[in-house]
Amino acid sequence: MARDGGVSCLRSSETMRVGIGGMESPPLDLDEVHVLAVDDSLVDRIVIERLLRITSCKVTAVDSGWRALEFLGLDNEKASAELDRLKVDLIITDYCMPGMTGYELLKKIKESSSFRQVPVVIMSSENVLTRIDRCLEEGAEDFLLKPVKLADVKRLRSYLTRDVKLSNANKRKLPEDSVPVNTSLPPPPSPFTISPDLSDSSPPLTISPESSDSSPPLSPLEISSSPLSSPIDDEDDDVLTSSPESSSAPEESPARRQKMTSPLD
């Protein structure tokens, strides 16, 4: 497994091979989705890469905004003939990165003529409404709360394939058959209909990442072991403690509420 700080790739048979420093384009495969993943954390890069590959995407993973721009050929002014061959269908980036943040990278991508149409998804461990708003206003397609789960990536994948197959004419429409399962932003603030003003839909965006909807709402852990679970469990969830918006967490499952009120039986 390549551990360098630049570009990582795992199983070479499954990923596009990208040299360190030299950026080769993937073999052109028009049916396959190619994703550029940007994250300064090696662990997160490995996980997102695997999540994407398991959902049949080709992945290039880089460790910084600068490397991403370099890969896209946006780091200098001269147009490259290579760019015509470079097919990137989705860019998924971490928000908090040293040097260039995911937000800054998003802006640069949206300012470029060659890549402004590419959907950009932001990932963040912090559920900060103003941050989410800012990114969506700047043109981000979606916002995922970390830790990213398979259901999140499958959801991205489902609307991405449709975009790739459709003409560019009308990208911003409701995914007709979008999967309702959504662990990061339940209920899905549909990226295609989101307006800059999110005040109407703010509550869903403040849900704690721990109240995962991908598992059955009341996992055996939470039902049968409520005496074992501690109210302190919720304190290590910084979403509940740090975000002023999330104090009510209206959509917590009954089991969780029960957990909070009766620590011991």
């Binding site: 497994m1 551990r3 795992l10 199983r11 499954e14 954390s41 090696l42 662990v43 997160d44 490995i46 996980v47 695997r50 999540l51 398991i54 908090c96 040293p98 461990s125 970390k146 830790p147 990213v148 789960k149 398979l150 721990e210 995962s212 991908s214 598992s215 996992s219 055996p220 852990l221 072991s225 005496p227 074992l228 679970s229 501690s230 302190i232 469990d233 304190e235 290590d236 910084d238 403690t241 620590p263 011991l264």
Partner: protein
């Protein structure tokens, strides 16, 4: 008659469950459901995915803890924002692998950094060090159990938490 495989499988099941739960309500499990999410990403093509990721995570722990220790060692001139940024990174990666206790400790640790609480930081650092090593040992035991099961000709049971 209890075959070796059945015994090992039972041991594996019990041990896995114990990693997610704890006996007493005030003691948190070592793992949360993000670890389960990682297991979903493991298959015949990537049979060691979880082991590889957690191994990287533990290396990350070692590196970051080293950075924090060095920063805290600058007596009279501790750069708390530097410590804080390492804590932030550690919190992120522990969250990504489902290392519940490490992640929880990072929350407290971050608060100590933000309030420039030196003693608090030192205590948190010690706890984080103990905690990641403890998890590392436990996961090693779990992976060993898996190996024993396979070597005894059995299947690794799917444990629903």
């Amino acid at each position: 008659m209890d075959t070796l495989v059945a015994q090992l499988q039972r041991q594996f099941r019990d041990y896995t469950i114990s990693l997610y739960h704890q006996l007493f309500w005030y003691v948190k499990g070592f793992l949360d459901d993000q670890f389960t999410e990682l297991k979903k990403l493991q298959d015949e093509c990537s049979p060691d995915f979880v082991a590889e990721v957690v191994s990287l995570f533990f290396e990350d722990c070692e590196k970051l803890i080293g950075n924090m220790a060095r920063a805290l060692d600058q007596t009279g001139n501790v750069d708390f924002s530097l410590v804080g940024s390492s804590v932030h990174q550690l919190k992120g990666s522990s969250s990504s692998v489902g290392a519940k206790r490490v992640k929880g400790l990072c929350v407290t640790f971050k608060e100590c950094c933000d309030s420039q609480n030196f003693e608090g930081c030192v205590r948190c650092l010690q706890q984080v060090d103990i905690e990641y090593k403890s998890l590392k040992a436990k996961l090693q035991d779990l992976f060993n159990l898996e190996q024993q099961i396979v070597q005894a000709g059995g299947r690794i049971p799917q444990v629903d938490i």
